[in-house]
Symmetry: C2
Subunit: 159 residues, 2 copies
């Protein structure tokens, strides 16, 4: 701990903290833009898009609720409600699990697949426009590899 816990200003690894702040700002910015675009153009929240995308990339287009919750970074209860909504819209179904009687699958319906396909270009465009437009490829690759060291992503990246 290189910190003195002083009155109000201390300097410690400012570059590292700067990166963290930049990441926060970037995330917030892109998330907002993406959310708004998806909502107006496809009436689809970003979290919903995430769910559909994960299911789409999964074998048999189905995932256990628990699994899915982890992948979309939601609490179990949060996912329960979200899947409720998506089910009401007919984009997702629940299916019992043969191996485990208490388990449930969230299954992407055909309608869900269609909505996902419709929304994906918007998603792509949003990310590229908001997030990547300015960066060149080498820098992107460096950032990705650097950050990936820390967070080995469990998603097979269905995009």
């Amino acid at each position: 701990m290189t910190v003195t816990a002083g009155e109000s200003k201390q300097v410690v690894g400012s570059e590292e903290l700067a990166l963290w702040h930049v990441v926060r700002r970037a995330q917030a910015r892109v998330t907002r833009a993406l959310e708004a675009e998806l909502l107006v153009e496809h009436d689809l929240a970003l979290a919903s898009y995430d769910v559909l995308a994960q299911l789409s990339g999964a074998p048999e287009r189905r995932l256990r609720m628990n699994d899915l919750a982890e992948r979309v970074m939601l609490s179990r209860s949060g996912l329960t409600r979200l899947v409720d909504r998506l089910q009401r819209e007919g984009l997702v179904e629940r299916a019992a699990c043969a191996d485990d009687a208490r388990g449930l699958f969230a299954v992407l319906t055909d309608d869900g697949a269609v909505r996902l396909a419709e929304a994906t270009p918007t998603y792509m465009r949003g990310v590229r426009a908001q997030f990547l437009g300015v960066l060149d490829e080498r820098e992107l690759r460096r950032c990705a590899s650097a950050l990936t060291k820390l967070f080995p992503d469990p998603d097979p990246d269905p995009d």
Copy 2:
């Protein structure tokens, strides 16, 4: 648009999208950890910490509500409520603005400064542990510079 909006799998600039996903995961992960630590150790939400930090770095330890809202990436109404809470805790005060009768300053109190000083080591430690521990300096600097191009940060970085 290099996207065909196909059935379920299309590939387009996978590195760029991968970076975006990594950033999202990183942000979520660190945010959660930070929030939890600050909450248990200092009974302070991350958003509250942000407000205190911004005020601490501002001249006269005060900022216009509008300004502050933008810096901490909250809507005006969101900030109104947050400052309400902080004011109830005595960490922040509201002060009228001489130049503009409808304007208000949020002002960091001494108690607020103390709480911030107490919490800052936890914040630092959390960021370093969760976010930076694995990365080496050069990579960090590259990421920072790359991302900063996109998001020129308005914060004077009070840390």
